[in-house]
Protein backbone atom coordinates (compact mmCIF):
# COMPACT_ATOMS: atom_id res chain seq x y z
CA UNK A 1 0.00 0.00 0.00
CA UNK A 2 2.90 2.39 0.57
CA UNK A 3 3.36 2.41 -3.20
CA UNK A 4 -0.23 3.60 -3.43
CA UNK A 5 0.26 6.28 -0.81
CA UNK A 6 3.63 7.54 -1.89
CA UNK A 7 2.73 7.93 -5.54
CA UNK A 8 4.68 10.24 -7.78
CA UNK A 9 2.21 13.10 -7.40
CA UNK A 10 2.47 13.10 -3.59
CA UNK A 11 6.25 12.96 -3.67
CA UNK A 12 6.29 15.68 -6.34
CA UNK A 13 4.16 18.06 -4.27
CA UNK A 14 6.24 17.19 -1.20
CA UNK A 15 9.53 17.86 -2.94
CA UNK A 16 8.26 20.85 -4.96
CA UNK A 17 5.42 22.37 -3.00
CA UNK A 18 3.20 24.83 -4.86
CA UNK A 19 2.27 28.17 -3.30
CA UNK A 20 4.63 27.71 -0.41
CA UNK A 21 5.70 30.76 1.56
CA UNK A 22 4.11 33.78 3.17
CA UNK A 23 1.91 36.66 1.98
CA UNK A 24 3.04 39.93 3.52
CA UNK A 25 -0.27 41.78 3.50
CA UNK A 26 -2.51 38.76 3.95
CA UNK A 27 -6.08 39.28 5.08
CA UNK A 28 -5.97 36.12 7.17
CA UNK A 29 -3.08 34.22 8.70
CA UNK A 30 -3.90 31.09 10.59
CA UNK A 31 -1.89 28.28 12.12
CA UNK A 32 -2.60 24.85 13.48
CA UNK A 33 -0.72 21.66 14.18
CA UNK A 34 -1.40 18.00 14.52
CA UNK A 35 -0.44 17.12 18.08
CA UNK A 36 -0.16 13.45 17.21
CA UNK A 37 2.77 13.80 14.85
CA UNK A 38 3.74 17.45 14.99
CA UNK A 39 2.77 18.45 11.46
CA UNK A 40 2.40 22.21 11.27
CA UNK A 41 0.58 24.34 8.70
CA UNK A 42 0.21 28.12 8.36
CA UNK A 43 -2.16 29.43 5.73
CA UNK A 44 -2.12 32.97 4.32
CA UNK A 45 -5.14 34.27 2.42
CA UNK A 46 -5.55 37.35 0.26
CA UNK A 47 -9.23 37.97 -0.43
CA UNK A 48 -10.50 40.44 -3.04
CA UNK A 49 -14.22 40.87 -3.66
CA UNK A 50 -15.16 37.56 -2.19
CA UNK A 51 -12.52 35.70 -4.14
CA UNK A 52 -9.29 34.05 -2.97
CA UNK A 53 -6.82 36.10 -4.96
CA UNK A 54 -3.81 34.50 -3.38
CA UNK A 55 -3.15 31.67 -1.00
CA UNK A 56 0.14 30.46 0.42
CA UNK A 57 1.02 27.87 2.99
CA UNK A 58 4.02 27.40 5.18
CA UNK A 59 4.75 24.41 7.33
CA UNK A 60 6.67 21.31 8.14
CA UNK A 61 5.75 17.72 8.53
CA UNK A 62 5.27 14.47 6.69
CA UNK A 63 4.88 14.04 2.94
CA UNK A 64 1.13 13.53 3.23
CA UNK A 65 0.45 16.69 5.23
CA UNK A 66 2.67 18.92 3.10
CA UNK A 67 1.62 17.51 -0.29
CA UNK A 68 -2.00 17.76 0.75
CA UNK A 69 -1.54 21.43 1.70
CA UNK A 70 0.20 22.13 -1.59
CA UNK A 71 -2.64 20.53 -3.56
CA UNK A 72 -5.29 22.29 -1.50
CA UNK A 73 -3.85 25.70 -2.38
CA UNK A 74 -4.19 24.79 -6.05
CA UNK A 75 -7.78 23.69 -5.46
CA UNK A 76 -8.91 27.02 -4.06
CA UNK A 77 -6.69 29.55 -5.81
CA UNK A 78 -8.82 32.17 -7.62
CA UNK A 79 -12.00 30.49 -6.37
CA UNK A 80 -14.84 32.35 -4.67
CA UNK A 81 -14.82 32.02 -0.87
CA UNK A 82 -18.27 30.49 -1.07
CA UNK A 83 -16.86 27.61 -3.12
CA UNK A 84 -13.84 27.13 -0.90
CA UNK A 85 -15.95 27.16 2.22
CA UNK A 86 -17.94 24.13 1.03
CA UNK A 87 -15.00 21.87 0.20
CA UNK A 88 -15.50 18.59 1.99
CA UNK A 89 -13.02 16.19 3.49
CA UNK A 90 -13.87 13.61 0.84
CA UNK A 91 -13.17 16.07 -1.95
CA UNK A 92 -9.72 16.75 -0.53
CA UNK A 93 -8.95 13.07 -0.08
CA UNK A 94 -10.13 12.31 -3.60
CA UNK A 95 -8.14 15.19 -5.01
CA UNK A 96 -4.95 13.90 -3.47
CA UNK A 97 -5.88 10.33 -4.31
CA UNK A 98 -5.74 9.00 -0.76
CA UNK A 99 -9.15 7.58 0.03
CA UNK A 100 -7.91 4.58 2.01
CA UNK A 101 -5.96 6.24 4.79
CA UNK A 102 -6.22 4.89 8.32
CA UNK A 103 -7.48 7.05 11.18
CA UNK A 104 -3.97 8.16 12.19
CA UNK A 105 -2.71 9.29 8.80
CA UNK A 106 -6.02 10.84 7.69
CA UNK A 107 -5.34 13.66 10.17
CA UNK A 108 -2.13 14.44 8.27
CA UNK A 109 -4.04 14.62 4.98
CA UNK A 110 -6.80 16.87 6.34
CA UNK A 111 -4.75 19.26 8.49
CA UNK A 112 -4.49 21.89 5.75
CA UNK A 113 -8.23 21.78 5.08
CA UNK A 114 -8.84 22.27 8.79
CA UNK A 115 -6.51 25.28 8.82
CA UNK A 116 -8.11 26.74 5.69
CA UNK A 117 -11.57 26.46 7.23
CA UNK A 118 -10.36 27.96 10.49
CA UNK A 119 -8.95 30.82 8.42
CA UNK A 120 -12.24 31.39 6.68
CA UNK A 121 -14.13 31.38 9.95
CA UNK A 122 -11.67 34.00 11.15
CA UNK A 123 -12.20 36.03 7.98
CA UNK A 124 -15.99 35.87 8.18
CA UNK A 125 -16.13 36.52 11.91
CA UNK A 126 -15.31 40.20 11.28
CA UNK A 127 -17.50 40.67 8.26
CA UNK A 128 -20.36 38.21 8.51
CA UNK A 129 -20.52 36.85 12.03
CA UNK A 130 -23.57 34.71 11.25
CA UNK A 131 -21.79 33.00 8.35
CA UNK A 132 -18.79 32.36 10.58
CA UNK A 133 -20.99 30.89 13.26
CA UNK A 134 -22.79 28.70 10.77
CA UNK A 135 -19.50 27.50 9.30
CA UNK A 136 -18.18 26.63 12.70
CA UNK A 137 -21.37 24.75 13.48
CA UNK A 138 -21.56 22.90 10.17
CA UNK A 139 -17.93 21.99 10.05
CA UNK A 140 -16.95 18.79 11.77
CA UNK A 141 -13.31 19.68 11.40
CA UNK A 142 -13.08 21.37 14.73
Amino acid sequence: MSDDIYREIILDHYRNPRNKGKIDNADVVIHDSNPLCGDQIDIYLKVVEGQIKDIKFDGKGCAISQASASMLTEMVMDKPLTTAKDISKDEVLENIGLTNLGPARIKCALLSLKVLKMGMVKYYSDKEPTTAEKMEKDSNLF
Binding site: S2, Y6, G38, C108
Partner: protein, 415 residues
Protein backbone atom coordinates in the same frame (compact mmCIF):
# COMPACT_ATOMS: atom_id res chain seq x y z
CA UNK B 1 20.62 -18.31 14.43
CA UNK B 2 20.37 -17.33 18.07
CA UNK B 3 20.94 -13.67 18.74
CA UNK B 4 22.40 -14.08 22.21
CA UNK B 5 22.38 -16.19 25.34
CA UNK B 6 18.63 -15.79 25.57
CA UNK B 7 16.68 -18.62 24.01
CA UNK B 8 14.60 -16.29 21.92
CA UNK B 9 12.89 -19.12 20.02
CA UNK B 10 11.61 -20.55 23.26
CA UNK B 11 10.69 -17.12 24.60
CA UNK B 12 8.80 -16.20 21.43
CA UNK B 13 6.58 -19.26 21.85
CA UNK B 14 5.28 -17.74 25.07
CA UNK B 15 3.93 -14.67 23.26
CA UNK B 16 0.79 -15.45 21.23
CA UNK B 17 0.90 -12.12 19.39
CA UNK B 18 4.31 -12.92 17.91
CA UNK B 19 2.79 -15.81 15.94
CA UNK B 20 0.61 -13.35 14.04
CA UNK B 21 1.06 -12.87 10.35
CA UNK B 22 -0.35 -9.78 8.72
CA UNK B 23 -0.77 -9.85 4.95
CA UNK B 24 1.24 -13.07 5.02
CA UNK B 25 4.22 -11.42 6.67
CA UNK B 26 5.54 -12.11 10.15
CA UNK B 27 4.83 -9.41 12.70
CA UNK B 28 8.02 -7.57 13.68
CA UNK B 29 7.41 -5.60 16.85
CA UNK B 30 10.04 -2.93 17.49
CA UNK B 31 8.10 -0.50 19.68
CA UNK B 32 8.88 -1.90 23.11
CA UNK B 33 9.73 1.46 24.66
CA UNK B 34 6.09 2.29 24.10
CA UNK B 35 4.65 -0.92 25.47
CA UNK B 36 5.77 -4.55 25.48
CA UNK B 37 3.89 -7.67 24.45
CA UNK B 38 2.45 -10.00 27.08
CA UNK B 39 3.37 -13.65 27.67
CA UNK B 40 0.64 -16.24 27.96
CA UNK B 41 1.33 -16.61 31.69
CA UNK B 42 0.29 -12.98 32.27
CA UNK B 43 -2.79 -13.30 30.07
CA UNK B 44 -3.80 -16.55 31.80
CA UNK B 45 -3.29 -15.08 35.24
CA UNK B 46 -5.80 -12.33 34.46
CA UNK B 47 -8.27 -14.76 32.88
CA UNK B 48 -7.91 -17.02 35.89
CA UNK B 49 -8.71 -14.21 38.32
CA UNK B 50 -11.83 -13.18 36.44
CA UNK B 51 -12.85 -16.81 35.92
CA UNK B 52 -12.39 -18.18 39.41
CA UNK B 53 -11.86 -15.64 42.17
CA UNK B 54 -13.09 -12.26 40.93
CA UNK B 55 -14.00 -10.22 44.00
CA UNK B 56 -13.12 -6.96 45.66
CA UNK B 57 -10.08 -6.83 47.90
CA UNK B 58 -9.27 -5.67 51.43
CA UNK B 59 -12.84 -5.89 52.75
CA UNK B 60 -14.97 -8.98 52.39
CA UNK B 61 -14.33 -12.03 54.55
CA UNK B 62 -15.38 -14.80 52.20
CA UNK B 63 -12.80 -17.12 50.68
CA UNK B 64 -12.45 -15.77 47.16
CA UNK B 65 -12.07 -12.20 48.45
CA UNK B 66 -9.22 -13.44 50.58
CA UNK B 67 -7.71 -15.17 47.58
CA UNK B 68 -7.93 -11.98 45.56
CA UNK B 69 -6.50 -9.86 48.38
CA UNK B 70 -3.69 -12.33 48.84
CA UNK B 71 -2.84 -12.37 45.11
CA UNK B 72 -2.94 -8.56 44.93
CA UNK B 73 -0.68 -8.15 47.95
CA UNK B 74 1.64 -10.89 46.70
CA UNK B 75 2.35 -8.72 43.65
CA UNK B 76 3.26 -5.86 45.96
CA UNK B 77 5.73 -8.11 47.75
CA UNK B 78 7.21 -9.23 44.44
CA UNK B 79 7.61 -5.63 43.29
CA UNK B 80 9.26 -4.81 46.60
CA UNK B 81 11.75 -7.60 46.05
CA UNK B 82 12.22 -6.79 42.36
CA UNK B 83 13.49 -3.28 43.12
CA UNK B 84 14.94 -4.22 46.51
CA UNK B 85 12.80 -1.84 48.58
CA UNK B 86 12.78 -2.16 52.35
CA UNK B 87 9.08 -2.80 52.78
CA UNK B 88 5.96 -3.49 50.67
CA UNK B 89 4.55 -0.40 52.40
CA UNK B 90 6.82 1.62 50.13
CA UNK B 91 5.14 0.20 46.98
CA UNK B 92 2.07 2.10 45.79
CA UNK B 93 0.01 0.94 42.84
CA UNK B 94 -1.13 3.65 40.45
CA UNK B 95 -2.51 3.58 36.92
CA UNK B 96 0.87 4.19 35.30
CA UNK B 97 4.21 5.93 35.84
CA UNK B 98 2.57 9.21 34.83
CA UNK B 99 0.12 8.97 37.71
CA UNK B 100 2.95 8.10 40.07
CA UNK B 101 4.74 11.34 39.12
CA UNK B 102 1.50 13.30 39.46
CA UNK B 103 0.92 11.76 42.89
CA UNK B 104 4.26 13.07 44.12
CA UNK B 105 4.01 16.47 42.43
CA UNK B 106 0.58 16.89 44.05
CA UNK B 107 1.05 15.39 47.48
CA UNK B 108 4.72 15.99 48.15
CA UNK B 109 5.12 19.02 45.89
CA UNK B 110 2.28 21.09 47.29
CA UNK B 111 3.64 20.64 50.77
CA UNK B 112 7.32 21.12 50.10
CA UNK B 113 7.67 23.51 47.17
CA UNK B 114 7.40 27.20 48.00
CA UNK B 115 7.74 30.48 46.18
CA UNK B 116 11.17 30.88 44.59
CA UNK B 117 12.12 27.21 44.99
CA UNK B 118 13.85 25.38 42.20
CA UNK B 119 13.03 22.01 40.63
CA UNK B 120 15.71 20.49 38.41
CA UNK B 121 14.77 18.43 35.35
CA UNK B 122 16.67 17.75 32.12
CA UNK B 123 16.13 18.49 28.46
CA UNK B 124 15.45 14.84 27.69
CA UNK B 125 12.50 14.33 30.01
CA UNK B 126 9.24 12.76 28.87
CA UNK B 127 6.30 15.17 29.01
CA UNK B 128 5.04 13.27 32.05
CA UNK B 129 8.14 14.33 33.96
CA UNK B 130 7.78 17.96 32.85
CA UNK B 131 4.13 18.97 32.86
CA UNK B 132 3.22 18.01 36.47
CA UNK B 133 6.20 20.02 37.73
CA UNK B 134 5.38 22.95 35.45
CA UNK B 135 1.86 23.11 36.86
CA UNK B 136 3.20 22.87 40.40
CA UNK B 137 5.82 25.56 39.71
CA UNK B 138 3.19 27.87 38.24
CA UNK B 139 0.92 27.41 41.20
CA UNK B 140 3.69 27.98 43.73
CA UNK B 141 5.71 30.58 41.83
CA UNK B 142 8.60 28.17 41.81
CA UNK B 143 11.13 27.71 39.00
CA UNK B 144 12.27 24.85 36.81
CA UNK B 145 15.80 24.45 35.45
CA UNK B 146 16.53 22.00 32.66
CA UNK B 147 19.94 20.36 32.74
CA UNK B 148 21.37 20.61 29.24
CA UNK B 149 22.29 17.56 27.23
CA UNK B 150 25.18 17.48 24.79
CA UNK B 151 25.13 16.22 21.20
CA UNK B 152 25.13 12.60 22.28
CA UNK B 153 22.35 13.19 24.79
CA UNK B 154 24.53 13.07 27.90
CA UNK B 155 24.11 15.33 30.90
CA UNK B 156 26.88 17.56 32.03
CA UNK B 157 27.35 16.80 35.71
CA UNK B 158 29.45 19.95 36.15
CA UNK B 159 26.37 21.99 35.34
CA UNK B 160 24.45 20.12 38.02
CA UNK B 161 27.27 20.64 40.52
CA UNK B 162 27.22 24.35 39.75
CA UNK B 163 23.47 24.55 40.42
CA UNK B 164 23.85 22.59 43.63
CA UNK B 165 26.65 24.87 44.73
CA UNK B 166 25.06 28.19 43.99
CA UNK B 167 21.39 27.53 44.54
CA UNK B 168 21.73 25.18 47.42
CA UNK B 169 19.01 26.78 49.49
CA UNK B 170 16.50 26.90 46.69
CA UNK B 171 16.74 23.51 45.03
CA UNK B 172 14.01 21.34 46.48
CA UNK B 173 13.92 18.40 44.07
CA UNK B 174 15.76 16.78 41.18
CA UNK B 175 13.60 14.64 38.92
CA UNK B 176 15.24 12.76 36.04
CA UNK B 177 14.59 9.83 33.76
CA UNK B 178 17.14 7.08 34.30
CA UNK B 179 16.89 6.08 30.64
CA UNK B 180 15.64 8.47 27.96
CA UNK B 181 12.60 7.14 26.14
CA UNK B 182 13.60 8.98 22.97
CA UNK B 183 17.37 8.43 22.85
CA UNK B 184 17.86 5.41 25.06
CA UNK B 185 20.66 7.17 26.92
CA UNK B 186 21.26 5.97 30.46
CA UNK B 187 22.29 8.69 32.89
CA UNK B 188 24.70 8.09 35.82
CA UNK B 189 21.80 8.25 38.26
CA UNK B 190 23.75 6.79 41.19
CA UNK B 191 26.35 9.55 40.88
CA UNK B 192 23.65 12.20 40.57
CA UNK B 193 21.85 10.94 43.67
CA UNK B 194 25.10 11.06 45.64
CA UNK B 195 25.72 14.61 44.47
CA UNK B 196 22.17 15.67 45.39
CA UNK B 197 22.29 14.00 48.79
CA UNK B 198 25.53 15.82 49.61
CA UNK B 199 23.31 18.92 49.60
CA UNK B 200 20.33 17.18 51.21
CA UNK B 201 18.21 17.30 48.07
CA UNK B 202 15.76 14.49 47.27
CA UNK B 203 15.79 12.76 43.88
CA UNK B 204 12.83 11.41 41.91
CA UNK B 205 13.82 8.75 39.38
CA UNK B 206 11.56 8.26 36.39
CA UNK B 207 12.27 4.59 35.80
CA UNK B 208 9.64 3.96 33.12
CA UNK B 209 12.34 2.98 30.63
CA UNK B 210 15.06 1.72 32.95
CA UNK B 211 13.27 -0.64 35.35
CA UNK B 212 12.11 -3.00 32.55
CA UNK B 213 15.65 -3.33 31.19
CA UNK B 214 18.20 -2.83 33.99
CA UNK B 215 18.60 -4.29 37.44
CA UNK B 216 17.08 -1.78 39.85
CA UNK B 217 18.05 -1.56 43.49
CA UNK B 218 16.45 1.36 45.32
CA UNK B 219 18.30 0.44 48.47
CA UNK B 220 21.70 0.99 46.97
CA UNK B 221 20.50 3.86 44.72
CA UNK B 222 19.01 5.54 47.78
CA UNK B 223 16.60 7.60 45.63
CA UNK B 224 13.62 9.15 47.41
CA UNK B 225 11.12 8.20 44.70
CA UNK B 226 10.98 5.85 41.72
CA UNK B 227 8.15 5.51 39.19
CA UNK B 228 7.60 2.86 36.54
CA UNK B 229 4.87 1.12 34.52
CA UNK B 230 3.98 -2.57 34.40
CA UNK B 231 3.00 -2.55 30.74
CA UNK B 232 6.53 -1.71 29.63
CA UNK B 233 7.80 -4.90 31.31
CA UNK B 234 5.49 -7.66 30.03
CA UNK B 235 2.70 -6.68 32.41
CA UNK B 236 -0.80 -5.39 31.72
CA UNK B 237 -1.67 -1.77 31.00
CA UNK B 238 -3.26 0.21 33.82
CA UNK B 239 -0.70 -0.61 36.50
CA UNK B 240 1.98 1.83 37.56
CA UNK B 241 4.23 1.72 40.57
CA UNK B 242 5.40 4.48 42.83
CA UNK B 243 8.20 3.63 45.20
CA UNK B 244 8.86 6.16 47.94
CA UNK B 245 10.92 6.09 51.10
CA UNK B 246 8.60 5.22 53.93
CA UNK B 247 9.35 8.23 56.14
CA UNK B 248 8.64 10.58 53.24
CA UNK B 249 5.45 8.83 52.15
CA UNK B 250 4.21 8.98 55.74
CA UNK B 251 4.59 12.76 55.80
CA UNK B 252 2.67 13.21 52.55
CA UNK B 253 -1.05 13.96 52.31
CA UNK B 254 -3.28 11.71 50.19
CA UNK B 255 -3.62 12.28 46.45
CA UNK B 256 -6.95 10.70 45.43
CA UNK B 257 -9.43 10.34 48.25
CA UNK B 258 -12.29 7.95 48.92
CA UNK B 259 -12.72 4.37 50.03
CA UNK B 260 -9.90 2.12 51.22
CA UNK B 261 -7.57 5.04 51.92
CA UNK B 262 -9.22 5.79 55.25
CA UNK B 263 -9.18 4.36 58.73
CA UNK B 264 -12.10 6.29 60.14
CA UNK B 265 -14.46 8.81 58.61
CA UNK B 266 -16.54 11.16 60.74
CA UNK B 267 -18.59 14.19 59.83
CA UNK B 268 -15.82 16.59 60.75
CA UNK B 269 -12.64 14.63 60.16
CA UNK B 270 -11.06 11.61 58.59
CA UNK B 271 -8.21 9.44 59.76
CA UNK B 272 -6.18 8.23 56.82
CA UNK B 273 -5.15 4.64 56.36
CA UNK B 274 -1.61 3.37 56.79
CA UNK B 275 0.84 3.04 53.97
CA UNK B 276 0.50 2.04 51.22
CA UNK B 277 -3.31 2.13 51.30
CA UNK B 278 -3.39 5.85 52.07
CA UNK B 279 -2.51 6.37 48.42
CA UNK B 280 -4.77 3.71 46.89
CA UNK B 281 -8.29 5.10 47.03
CA UNK B 282 -11.18 3.22 45.52
CA UNK B 283 -11.24 -0.24 43.99
CA UNK B 284 -7.87 -0.62 42.28
CA UNK B 285 -7.02 -2.44 39.05
CA UNK B 286 -7.07 -5.80 40.84
CA UNK B 287 -6.91 -8.11 37.82
CA UNK B 288 -4.00 -6.35 36.18
CA UNK B 289 -1.99 -6.00 39.38
CA UNK B 290 -2.41 -9.74 39.87
CA UNK B 291 -1.42 -10.30 36.23
CA UNK B 292 1.70 -8.22 36.77
CA UNK B 293 3.03 -10.75 39.26
CA UNK B 294 3.40 -13.27 36.42
CA UNK B 295 5.34 -10.70 34.41
CA UNK B 296 7.75 -10.26 37.32
CA UNK B 297 8.11 -14.05 37.58
CA UNK B 298 8.88 -14.19 33.88
CA UNK B 299 11.55 -11.48 34.09
CA UNK B 300 13.10 -13.02 37.20
CA UNK B 301 13.24 -16.39 35.47
CA UNK B 302 15.24 -14.91 32.58
CA UNK B 303 17.30 -12.61 34.79
CA UNK B 304 17.72 -8.88 34.35
CA UNK B 305 21.44 -9.18 33.56
CA UNK B 306 20.68 -11.56 30.70
CA UNK B 307 18.01 -9.19 29.42
CA UNK B 308 20.47 -6.32 29.47
CA UNK B 309 23.12 -8.35 27.63
CA UNK B 310 20.62 -9.46 25.01
CA UNK B 311 19.60 -5.87 24.37
CA UNK B 312 23.18 -4.66 24.17
CA UNK B 313 23.87 -7.32 21.56
CA UNK B 314 20.79 -6.45 19.49
CA UNK B 315 21.54 -2.72 19.74
CA UNK B 316 25.14 -3.27 18.67
CA UNK B 317 24.01 -5.34 15.69
CA UNK B 318 21.33 -2.83 14.67
CA UNK B 319 23.68 0.15 15.00
CA UNK B 320 26.29 -1.61 12.83
CA UNK B 321 23.74 -2.44 10.13
CA UNK B 322 22.20 1.03 10.24
CA UNK B 323 25.58 2.73 9.96
CA UNK B 324 26.01 1.04 6.58
CA UNK B 325 23.21 3.24 5.23
CA UNK B 326 24.80 6.56 4.36
CA UNK B 327 21.43 8.39 4.44
CA UNK B 328 20.83 7.64 8.12
CA UNK B 329 21.37 9.83 11.15
CA UNK B 330 21.34 8.08 14.52
CA UNK B 331 20.86 10.07 17.74
CA UNK B 332 22.18 9.36 21.20
CA UNK B 333 25.34 7.95 22.71
CA UNK B 334 27.37 5.49 20.61
CA UNK B 335 28.80 3.81 23.71
CA UNK B 336 26.63 0.74 24.26
CA UNK B 337 27.22 0.82 28.01
CA UNK B 338 25.52 4.22 28.14
CA UNK B 339 22.39 3.32 26.24
CA UNK B 340 19.54 0.87 26.39
CA UNK B 341 17.88 -0.96 23.51
CA UNK B 342 16.38 2.17 21.99
CA UNK B 343 17.57 3.73 18.73
CA UNK B 344 16.24 7.05 17.47
CA UNK B 345 17.10 7.99 13.92
CA UNK B 346 16.13 9.83 10.77
CA UNK B 347 16.51 8.49 7.26
CA UNK B 348 17.46 11.31 4.91
CA UNK B 349 14.64 13.81 4.82
CA UNK B 350 11.88 11.21 4.95
CA UNK B 351 9.47 12.31 7.65
CA UNK B 352 9.29 9.68 10.41
CA UNK B 353 5.57 9.23 9.89
CA UNK B 354 6.10 8.46 6.25
CA UNK B 355 8.85 5.99 7.16
CA UNK B 356 6.66 4.30 9.75
CA UNK B 357 3.89 3.96 7.17
CA UNK B 358 6.30 2.41 4.67
CA UNK B 359 7.67 -0.03 7.27
CA UNK B 360 4.14 -0.93 8.27
CA UNK B 361 3.70 -2.35 4.78
CA UNK B 362 6.25 -4.96 5.75
CA UNK B 363 4.44 -5.51 9.02
CA UNK B 364 7.18 -3.81 11.04
CA UNK B 365 5.95 -1.76 14.00
CA UNK B 366 8.19 1.19 14.81
CA UNK B 367 7.42 4.47 16.52
CA UNK B 368 7.58 7.84 14.86
CA UNK B 369 7.00 11.28 16.26
CA UNK B 370 8.27 13.43 19.09
CA UNK B 371 7.99 10.57 21.62
CA UNK B 372 6.38 12.90 24.16
CA UNK B 373 9.74 14.66 24.40
CA UNK B 374 9.27 17.90 22.48
CA UNK B 375 11.82 19.75 24.62
CA UNK B 376 14.40 17.19 23.47
CA UNK B 377 13.26 17.41 19.84
CA UNK B 378 13.76 21.19 19.96
CA UNK B 379 17.26 20.61 21.32
CA UNK B 380 18.05 18.12 18.53
CA UNK B 381 16.52 20.60 16.06
CA UNK B 382 14.17 18.02 14.57
CA UNK B 383 10.40 17.87 14.68
CA UNK B 384 10.38 14.12 15.04
CA UNK B 385 12.45 10.96 14.85
CA UNK B 386 11.83 7.32 14.06
CA UNK B 387 12.51 4.93 16.90
CA UNK B 388 13.08 1.22 17.24
CA UNK B 389 13.26 -0.39 20.67
CA UNK B 390 13.98 -3.98 21.61
CA UNK B 391 13.02 -6.49 24.25
CA UNK B 392 13.64 -10.10 25.20
CA UNK B 393 11.85 -11.62 22.20
CA UNK B 394 13.49 -9.58 19.44
CA UNK B 395 16.03 -11.24 17.16
CA UNK B 396 18.75 -10.32 14.69
CA UNK B 397 16.55 -11.74 11.92
CA UNK B 398 13.96 -9.10 12.77
CA UNK B 399 16.63 -6.42 12.57
CA UNK B 400 17.55 -7.71 9.12
CA UNK B 401 13.92 -7.41 8.02
CA UNK B 402 13.89 -3.86 9.39
CA UNK B 403 17.12 -2.92 7.58
CA UNK B 404 15.77 -4.32 4.29
CA UNK B 405 12.65 -2.22 4.68
CA UNK B 406 14.79 0.89 5.23
CA UNK B 407 16.40 0.07 1.89
CA UNK B 408 12.98 0.05 0.25
CA UNK B 409 12.15 3.45 1.72
CA UNK B 410 15.42 4.86 0.42
CA UNK B 411 14.49 3.65 -3.05
CA UNK B 412 10.93 4.96 -2.88
CA UNK B 413 12.00 8.42 -1.80
CA UNK B 414 15.00 8.30 -4.14
CA UNK B 415 17.47 9.30 -1.42
Amino acid sequence: MQSSELETNKIRNDFPILTRKINGKPFVYLDNASTTQKPLSVINKIVNYYSFYNSNIHRAVYDIAEEATHAYELTRQKVCKFINANSPQEIIFTRNATEAINLVSYSWGRKNIQKGDLIILSEQEHHSNIVPWQILAKEKNAKIKYLKIDKTGNLNLNELEAYLNSNNNNIKLISLCHMSNALGNIIPIDKIINMAHAYGIPVFVDGAQSVPHLTTDVNSLDCEFLAFSAHKMLGPTGVGILYGKKNILEEMDPFICGGDMIKEVHKEKTLFNDLPYKFEAGTPNIADVIGFSSALDYLNEIGMDNIRNHEIELTKYALEKMSELKQIKVYGDVNLQNRGGIISFNLGDIHPHDLATILNEDCIAIRSGHHCAQVLMEKLEVSATSRVSFYIYNTKEEINIFINALGKAIKLFQL
